[in-house]
Symmetry: C2
Subunit: 246 residues, 2 copies
DNA sequence: TATTTGACAGTTGTCTGACAACCTGATACA
DNA sequence: TGTATCAGGTTGTCAGACAACTGTCAAATA
């Protein structure tokens, strides 16, 4: 007889480290730990939980990477006061793995960029707009005498300036994460001067659009700005996005 | 004399663990490590990088928590094949930390929701639309005989259905993260039947808007759907967002 | 007195070594 | 051929050690 043996469901103990992470997380949920508060020291935590210090450290390192706690050498480990920049960093990892810089990533960029540009248009102060224009000029002036990496950074700065005009840290973090993903692509794209000039022109269009406060104008400016890229062949995606003759 | 002392710029070394994380991250970006591939063993990594095994372990634990790699005891550590769902969501920690449903979070939600709804409108197949309508009906039918937690889950499902219609895993992931953040708020809001009914009506408007493929209609449907919420008082934010009489 | 310096205990960062639990593939055996 | 056993490698966890750093407080200094 070749009857299959009964199959048990694989039982898996959560690792000690995961349990520690969970424990601290639960303490946060229950409000037993509040922002700014200091955690027990690592040896103390190890003693309380009956585990080794290494396990505690690994757990804390995870919480730290996620942005929940912050360790200060010589002082202690604290629950963060305000969500740190790192909080959304993992997002870029996820993005990296999920896709190979493909049409999906571009769709995401279009969506996010349109979103934060509209928000920026509605929230920007005069000073914000000045900074944005300043960032645009910086790229403009550097076109002739700067390597493509530096130029890409200036391009990034332009988008960061817009993000700052949203006055929304959350949106800024997501926006940054998305833009950074394109850095290397942009950098390579800027090896040819003509592409840089196209970017400069696109930036100018975006600025005008921001000033206009007109949704359609903003959208077209963004979409156009992304048409002159290494992924021209995926413009199909872009076309899919603007629906109503926008 | 009370001349101010010279001020040095604070110099800070990134920690060894962070450097390791960065190193592996870079290898991923450069494509030197592809999904499914096995990493060197911990002692080997420690040797190659000239660091202790603890540091390597902490770095790997971080990458593991983020969902980038997966460690199999007795076998080795591998780059994950497909981004796992158990990847703990960094965003959800934000809400634990007193970043409670603030105006910023709502802005983000409006931005993301409008984005993915437009994308869904352009990409949805007939089957997708059917699933969306089905999800809407599920909530509708449950209004009278279900607790508010269950109702909130159904509300969530409706948005998930829209997200699936985008056919973009990346957008889905981000969309889910954002929506989940509002789960508890939604849940509480649904304690009163009248609010559920408003949500049902809003869903119907959204479906109509999706069918229409009209940008303006989609935007207004989304914005309206968010007006009947516990954060009515923050509608100012919403008003700021639609710019041109949309 | 007011300020700086120095010593000290406590904390995190990192390394090393050790062992248990576990997986995998090869080997020996029936 | 198919099965059981074994050896080596790998991760999970612990323990101990030391360096680097921080905050505190008393002593020395102006």
């Amino acid at each position: 007889m070749d009857s299959k043996p009964f199959q048990f469901q694989s039982i898996q103990q959560p690792s000690v480290v995961d349990q520690i992470t969970q424990t601290i997380r639960d303490a946060l949920i229950r409000g037993e730990l509040s922002p700014g508060q200091k955690l027990p020291s690592e040896p103390e935590l190890a003693r309380q939980l009956g585990v080794g210090r290494s396990a505690v450290r690994e757990a804390l390192k995870v919480l730290q990477a996620i942005g929940v706690v912050e360790s200060r050498r010589g002082s202690g480990t604290y629950v963060v006061e305000e969500p740190s920049d790192r909080m959304l960093n993992p997002l870029s990892f996820a993005i990296l793995l999920g896709t190979n810089v493909s049409s999906e990533l571009i769709e995401l960029r279009v969506m996010i960029e349109i979103g934060y540009c509209e928000l920026a248009a509605s929230q920007a102060t005069a000073a914000d707009m000045q900074k944005i224009e300043q960032a645009a000029r910086a790229l403009e002036n550097a076109v002739s005498h700067a390597d493509h990496e530096h130029l890409a950074q200036l391009d990034l700065n332009f988008h960061y300036a817009i993000l700052e005009a949203t006055h929304n840290p959350l949106v800024q973090k997501i926006g940054r994460a998305v833009e950074e993903l394109f850095f290397s692509s942009i950098s390579n794209n800027f090896k040819e001067v003509q592409n840089v000039e196209q970017a400069v022109a696109a930036h100018r269009d975006i600025i005008t659009a921001l000033h206009s406060h007109d949704l359609h104008q903003i959208r077209t400016a963004i979409v156009d700005s992304l048409k002159n890229t290494p992924w021209k062949d995926q413009v199909t995606v872009l076309r899919k996005i603007h629906i109503n003759g926008v």
